[in-house]
Assembly symmetry: C2
Homo-oligomer: 426 residues x 2
């Protein structure tokens, strides 16, 4: 099969092609598929890598540091859990706060506290309208948090180095109601790019030009989630912040949701001691402490049973073939085509594709008719509105290899159909 | 030893008594005790009752209802967990929402959502000043949540039947800015009383006279935590609400924090489906789902390993001797004395004592000097202000029997010293 290309076809050829695609669509419709490429969920095989966590305590619930993990307390986490997270995030042990099972919850709470109460500086809500920078395409759940608190989102372009920093700096200098920026710095959701060293340093320096209550939300969700050993590294933002004396301006988030169990992992945040103290003061009203037994399970698992590095290699061995199918299918159908462009991530959970302008919704709808669920078009943009209607996020981690193969054929056909429809209507 | 009584002593006898008490104080000071009666923490023996939860999954992480508990999702909890909580709370399975490890967090989130966004009715913050009724003495962490959101607390008296309902109804009728009431209906914190059937019904009827966005926070923390089989039962408030068509007006909370592990239990709320849907809508912004693996552990533990009833009997067997020491010491030192009165709880985690007016702070301070930490005087009142300065909460669950014995001698001496000091100053 040669890749799809309609740049040099005439109207008659286009009609024939359309008819042929409709025939293919009929074949796929008859298969009555029910496939799902929507969310970045680990597969059962990945989850099974951590099954040994059950029973790992062997009736010893006391941590090395002497805490009975079964009881109340320990709002900021066990020292051993902090040390584990600190090593992953590249910060000191006292710059980590261990939460429950969800970094999303920590992000929500951080935004809530900053908005309602302030953390070491004025509460955002005191200042009236608040804005947040959102590099796009991005993560829909980040955007939902802003929306929940009535925070206005401002799109910022992304390229292969991360957010367009000229744009970011200019916006911040011009408007002190901008109180933060969302970042997924390594294997960005959904583009999979890794922020360049220069971008990381420029983000660390934003604290110099922004308002005192400006905060970078550094969602390092995929910090150890590379698909190969040669994947690009991420520069240490905390080191950059120390260099520029802006430690309060960045709050990092991470978790083991895609390391151990998606729903029963450990989440944490890392920031200046001042930020964490302020966070803890408010969290202490809402909670007596996180599940320390689960912290202990993770500590034991990653010291006695395996190492993070070994464990993540096993994840990569399960994930890489899935990404490879997606990418080879895209290549097979659209190499050098102007119908579709896509990213080639070296880690994370997503492949981001761009259709021609105005076709993403149609592609998602056509794929759905053929039994393949995709993340709704627009979901990667604030308010669900992709101004170009071209970005679609593909999440290949959960389905089986056979399912991905089938789903990508459906997806490719949907792209071709939508593209031909557009050409015919032109 | 006869109980302490200074009602018929003259000034000279009082001075001699004071001197003798100071001697006793010197003896206790030399013991350099370090004892703690502050918080309602389960003892290690109690926690060990649930140690079999580790390893109970035996590599089978799939619930009977077919959910892979390791993965994301299930915001409102596993069906089996809901059924378990529903049976405890006396509601239908679809009237339960399973949270993380802390009912306090669910209470905080509920108040937050009611205040900021509203749940099926106007958001409280839209209406300006908001007030909340606080039966006193009560639970300091409830009061802290109100304070966090700037909600004004109004004290309501308690008697052996629960809150003074004449006062509650009159306040609500007179002031529509009253948006709720805190209740710990069974083995109230700290008094240990159980709300009478009439009180429960009158609380269920508050929805008839209160604002549409009024909510009863029914913290049923000690629902199955009786010290004996003859402890008084609590009337089912949901049944009363159904009778009076006020299901939206009451939100129940509960957890296994004092059943399984204090820091690693299951928490839940129970209310009308409308309230839970509204709660879930907002929680879904902050979280992808609770730790379902821990839910599965609890389900297996309480079906395969033990029953709630058997398990709570084991807790009672560990707790009752501790309460017995406290009560027998109080009897021994203060039977028929006007220096101290106290409650005799049949469940829960606390004994509430009242000193003479103006002495609670002094008693806590004297006990601290002798090495016994008590909950700060005033903590059982909003803003930490006990208008009579007489209430102290004693929490005997955590220390050993020997420690409680020692601590109660210290406490009793502190009460006597403070009482004599007051009499001398009179």
């Amino acid at each position: 099969m040669t890749a799809f290309d309609i740049r040099n076809v005439d109207q008659e050829q286009l009609k024939n092609l359309h008819a042929s695609l409709l025939d293919q669509q009929q074949v796929l419709l008859q298969k009555k598929l029910s496939l799902d490429l929507t969310r970045g969920k680990p597969s059962s095989d990945q989850l099974a890598l951590s099954d040994a966590m059950d029973g790992i305590l062997k009736n010893n619930y006391v941590s090395d540091s002497g805490t009975d993990t079964r009881n109340y307390g320990g709002l900021d986490g066990l020292p051993e859990a902090k040390a584990m997270a600190a090593a992953l995030m590249g910060v000191n042990n006292d710059e980590v706060f261990i939460g429950g099972n969800s970094s999303l919850t920590l992000m929500y709470q951080t935004m809530q506290f900053l908005h309602l109460f302030g953390m070491g500086a004025d509460a955002w809500q005191k200042e009236g309208n608040v804005k947040f920078l959102c590099p796009v395409p991005g993560y829909d759940r980040h955007f939902s948090i802003c929306e929940e608190f009535g925070i206005e989102m401002v799109n910022v372009a992304m390229d292969e180095n991360g957010p367009d920093m000229d744009q970011v700096e200019a916006l911040i200098k011009a408007d002190c109601s901008i109180k933060g920026i969302w970042c997924v710095p390594r294997f960005s959701n959904p583009s999979g790019i890794v922020y360049s060293d220069e971008t990381v340093e420029r983000i660390a320096k934003l604290g110099k030009i922004a308002a005192a209550n400006f905060r970078v939300f550094w969602d390092n969700a995929y910090v150890v989630h590379s698909l190969s050993k040669t994947a690009p590294q991420l520069s240490n933002i905390m080191e950059q912040c120390r260099k520029h004396d802006t430690e309060d301006s960045v709050i990092q988030f991470g978790s083991t949701s895609k390391v151990s169990f998606a729903g029963a992992g450990l989440a944490w945040m890392a920031s200046s001691k001042a930020n964490l103290a302020s966070f803890g003061k408010h969290l202490g009203i809402a909670a007596i402490g996180p599940d320390k037994v689960n912290q202990l399970r993770h500590i034991r698992f990653f010291t006695q049973h395996t190492s993070f590095e070994q464990h993540m290699e096993k994840h990569a061995a399960l994930l890489k073939p899935r990404f490879d199918i997606v990418l080879s299918k895209l290549d097979q159908h659209f190499a050098n085509s102007d119908a579709l462009s896509w990213t080639v991530p070296e880690g994370g959970y997503f492949v981001s594709v761009d259709t021609q302008q105005g076709l993403a919704k149609r592609v998602v709808s056509l794929a759905a008719e053929m039994g393949v669920k995709l993340t709704p078009a627009g979901a990667t943009f604030p308010y669900g509105k992709d101004p170009q209607d071209c970005n679609i996020r593909i999440a290949p981690s959960f389905p089986s290899l056979v399912e991905i193969d089938q789903a990508m054929d459906v997806f490719s056909l949907a792209v071709k159909l939508a593209t031909v429809e557009k050409a015919l209507a032109a």
